[in-house]
């Protein structure tokens, strides 16, 4: 169930250290090895049956070989001695052929902070989960759909991940993490669709039956949707839609590299959201999917990104930190990384409004379950376009009055943050673009819808 026995007994940090030793012996002035070893399983269902069901045992080593200020990166899936020798050769060849990076700040050094094992990051129940257990959860989702007379689609994933980082400056870090995610879309006979999702470190805490019911009930409620005209509407965004705001803002602005390249909207001290908006990145918060250190072996720091609507910080990796003369915040991705650092553990503060009362604050507006296929139209203004999906409703006088056909929006996500009028007390843990995200639902004063579709 848990992958190969050999992998279960492997000391991945020792593998990383062996690669660093080989690189140093081959003439590297600095070297770093990152090992990721996963056992990932995913059961996928559609038309209320399991149609894809997969498992993967993988291991990968990424080596940075540095000569002075010249850096070569090579990776391999062969972790035996011959594989390590070859990857060292390839990285060394690259390092000898590239120009110096004038502002190369060196590989990270241990910064004195202990890299703590985060007990909340790993659940044995997830690591030991079986295809039979996933099938049981899927059958619970399908049963809820059957009961409601709708059809179930979705997936249930469980992953165990080992990350080891060693470098020649005595960084040595090893963590085991687990995560799981169940998502489901329900489709009803009259065109209705609904969605539900949950992510957790411990797969056994995911309530498949509840998620199945949530999606099924929404699919029933969105049957025979009517058209509404595009235009500006106040909205309530469910957590599934709010995740997209976090992901996009993380990608477009919360990275030190985006600021250094002048393509970010972030200016420290600048107001971008209402007072109700506070966003942090915190790898240790057990509400999310915790991570002790980044892919450079640097312990994660808690970074306030937006405090009561005001830009408070960005995340750094070693290279962007060196440029600004600060320390890495522990947000590096595997090298080479043209995208720069990324906040992998974003959390938005909850507010004071009970979730079910958010809709009551809309005189005439829309309730949006989730977004689909969003893409930036203008990076610096964080203008994004996308569609609504799987549950869009017209609200009048604080009551849901009808399901509506899906709409296209073209909206600055910064203006959306500025228009946040209410934040739900409750939050959900979901899987974002790259990491775990913890978000409330939001009521926003205005959101611009620019088109409509036929369903």
């Amino acid at each position: 169930v848990g992958g190969s026995r050999e992998d279960a007994q492997t000391d991945w940090l020792a593998t990383a250290q062996r690669a660093v030793g080989l690189a140093s012996a081959a003439g590297a002035s600095e070297a770093e090895a990152l090992v990721t070893a996963d056992h990932a399983q995913l059961t996928r269902f559609a038309n209320s049956e399991i149609h894809q069901n997969v498992a993967e045992t993988s291991a990968h080593l990424n080596l940075r070989f540095v000569i002075g200020k010249r850096v070569g990166v090579a990776s391999t899936g062969r972790l035996d001695d011959e594989g390590l020798r070859q990857v060292v050769d390839r990285a060394a060849t690259i390092a000898r052929n590239v120009e110096e990076l004038a502002d190369w700040g060196g590989l990270p050094e241990p910064d004195g902070r202990e890299i703590r094992t985060l007990p909340g990051a790993f659940a044995a129940a997830t690591a030991e989960s079986s295809p039979e257990q996933r099938a049981e959860a899927v059958r619970a989702v399908i049963a809820a759909a059957d009961e409601a007379g709708v059809v179930a689609y979705g997936s249930f994933a469980t992953t165990t991940e080992h990350i080891a980082v060693a470098n020649s400056r005595e960084v040595g870090a090893l963590q085991a993490r687990t995560w799981s995610q169940l998502i489901t879309v329900s489709m009803g006979p009259d065109g209705g669709t609904g969605y539900a999702e949950s992510a957790a470190v411990d797969a056994t805490t995911i309530d498949a039956e509840r998620l199945g019911r949530e999606a099924a009930e929404k699919a029933r409620a969105t049957a025979n949707a009517r058209s509404v005209d595009p235009g500006d509407y106040p909205v309530v965004l469910e957590e599934y839609a709010v995740v997209d705001l976090m992901d996009m803002l993380g990608y477009l602005g919360f990275s030190a590299l985006a600021v250094q390249e002048e393509r970010s909207f972030v200016e420290i001290g600048k107001r971008i959201g209402s007072d109700l908006v506070t966003i942090v990145d915190d790898g240790e918060d057990p509400a999310g999917l915790p991570m002790a250190f980044d892919y450079e072996g640097v312990a994660k720091r808690r970074i306030a990104l937006v405090e009561q609507g005001v830009c408070a910080g960005v995340v750094y990796d070693a290279q962007t930190a060196a440029r600004d003369g600060v320390r890495s915040t522990g947000h590096g991705l595997p090298a080479p990384n043209p995208y720069g650092p990324f906040p992998l553990n974003m959390l938005m503060d909850g507010g004071s409004t009970p979730r079910e009362e958010l809709v009551g604050g809309l005189d005439r507006g829309l309730l949006v379950t989730r977004f689909h296929y969003t893409n930036p139209v203008h990076q610096k203004m964080a203008i994004v376009t996308g569609m609504t999906r799987d549950g869009t409703f017209l609200v009048e006088d604080g009551q849901i009055v009808a399901p509506v056909r899906n709409l296209r929006f073209t909206q600055s996500y910064l203006d959306a943050l500025a228009g946040v009028a209410s934040v739900s007390r409750e939050r959900r843990t979901l899987k974002g673009f790259l990491g775990g995200v913890v978000v409330p639902a939001l009521r926003i004063e205005a959101f611009t819808f620019t088109g409509a579709t036929e369903h």
Partner: protein
């Protein structure tokens, strides 16, 4: 390799699989990233492993591992069978595969100059020179230039006796100039912001002449900062191949994937408006000029191969013929449900992923009569839109919105001033029905995207699109607030 594939097939059969296939894949890749005239990253990667796919009691199971060892092959094949038995506990429609002759042979994509044999310093030098040419242009804030190559060796064996070996090489490169002023950020890229990829060798990279285009594109990025906003309205638009290929990708390629139609991507990418009743009724997808073919046989396309990843030979399948919807991208499992044989569109992203229905090369065939220049000359009032900058489309592939890097005003048959931040939006079949001109073979070229996402767990596909440029009438053009 054959001993390992035989072992996997034997183990799967002995555990109860009625069908099994084993793929062993080795992938080599190399990438170079230059930012603002400094080499930001050079990487070389190698990945190797195998995947075993089985049918047990009409249900699928798949397991994979990076350990190419006999004992691990046994473990993984057994795991695949166990997973399939778990699948069978939630099964309503047992899988039936179409018949196909066992596949045998080898295939190699055409490469004149091996990209992995060209010295690294040459490749870095070529890219750096192009990047520096952009950076020299006054007003450029930052530049990005990329090069990448990938080679895959694939061995496929199936329980029906099929055994094939393929070697496929893809390369891509692009330069991108960025100009920033206040909140305004404009960019121009050549030949494509996705990287201008083909199935080819380094000769293709040399043929792109990145350095010869660098200055022109950088100057245009700077000029866009002071260009007027593209005004909204219903307009005639001419789509350059650098934009048209993405329109084909999103609004024809994805909705003709038959697995989407049957709902198996519903929880992730979505479904399709091209339901099977539309195939039966001869749905009018576009104007008479529009003929779109999924062709896995054309040299240079990233969707070309000898056999797909379930051993079906490469072929050309019409998707739209003279405007009428006429076919799907299919697999051995889905094709029998519409009474057809597999069109050979099952492709997997490496050893650790199952094959899914993917685009091959989705080509909008050129139309004799007018060159792309003739089409512009034939347009009194319109916009010429080039280079995809942003894309979005709904979950049934109907309502789309694209932004392009640049619009050129067309007035009296001539391309004129630049307009910035153009977007256009519409409904898929309405746009294609409004197509009243398609360029001839003189501008027909193979483009492609190396980052087509699909499936859970996620898979990245390399797909090709050959297009020549086309004109559409009465299209809604928008503008940024």
């Amino acid at each position: 390799m054959r001993d390992l594939t035989d072992r996997g097939l034997d183990t799967a059969a002995s555990r109860g699989a009625t069908y099994a296939d084993v793929r062993i894949v080795r992938r080599l890749d190399e990438s170079i990233a230059v930012k603002s005239s400094r080499v930001e990253g050079v990487a070389s990667g190698e990945s190797e492993g195998f995947g075993v796919r089985v049918l047990v009691d009409g249900a699928w199971g798949f397991a994979s591992s990076y350990r190419l060892e006999p004992a691990e092959v046994d473990r993984v094949a057994a795991e695949a069978v166990r997973i399939a038995r778990a699948s069978a506990t939630a099964l309503r429609r047992p899988v039936v595969l179409d018949d196909r002759p066992p596949a045998h042979g080898s295939y190699e994509s055409r490469v004149q100059e091996d990209p992995f044999g060209v010295p690294l310093e040459t490749k870095i030098g070529d890219l750096l020179a192009a990047d520096q040419a952009m950076k020299r242009v006054t007003g450029i804030a930052f530049t990005e230039s990329t090069y990448a190559a990938q080679r895959e060796w694939k061995t496929f064996a199936a329980s029906d006796g099929s055994f094939t070996e393929q070697t496929i090489t893809h390369v891509g490169s692009a330069v991108e100039a960025n100009a920033v002023e206040g909140d305004e950020h404009q960019r121009r890229s050549y030949p494509d912001n996705g990287g201008g990829w083909q199935a080819a060798g380094y000769e293709y990279i040399r043929g792109l002449d990145l350095i010869g285009h660098a200055e022109e594109y950088a100057e245009e990025a700077v000029a866009l900062l002071s260009a007027p906003q593209c005004p909204p309205g219903r307009r005639t638009v001419v789509l350059d191949p650098s934009q048209l290929y993405m329109q084909v990708h999103e609004s024809c390629g994805h909705p003709t994937e038959l697995d989407r139609v049957y709902g198996t991507e519903a929880s992730y990418a979505g479904t399709s408006f091209l339901t099977t009743d539309k195939l039966d009724e001869g749905f009018r997808y576009g104007s008479d000029l529009v003929t779109i073919v999924a062709d896995a046989t054309v040299p240079g396309g990233m969707g070309s191969f000898g056999w797909d990843d379930e051993g079906v030979a490469a072929q050309a399948v019409p998707l739209v013929r003279n405007g009428i919807f006429s076919g799907y991208l299919t697999s051995r499992e889905t094709a029998p449900r519409i009474g057809r044989r597999s069109g050979g569109a099952m492709r997997a992203d490496g050893w650790n992923r199952i094959p899914l229905i993917r685009m091959t090369n989705i080509n909008l065939l050129p139309v004799d009569g007018m060159s792309l220049d003739d089409i512009v000359a034939d347009t009194d009032d319109g916009l010429y839109l080039a280079q995809c900058r942003s894309w979005s489309i709904d979950d049934r592939r109907l309502n789309f919105q694209f932004a392009t890097e640049v619009a050129y005003e067309i007035s009296g048959g001539k391309k004129g001033r630049l307009l910035k931040n153009p977007t256009y939006t519409g409904i898929t079949y309405e746009l294609w029905r409004s197509c009243d001109a398609i360029g001839d073979a003189s501008s027909y070229r193979m483009l492609g995207t190396p980052n087509c996402g699909k499936g859970e767990p996620g898979q990245i596909g390399h797909v090709g699109h050959a297009v020549s440029g086309a004109r559409f009438r009465d299209v809604q053009v928008g503008v940024l607030g």
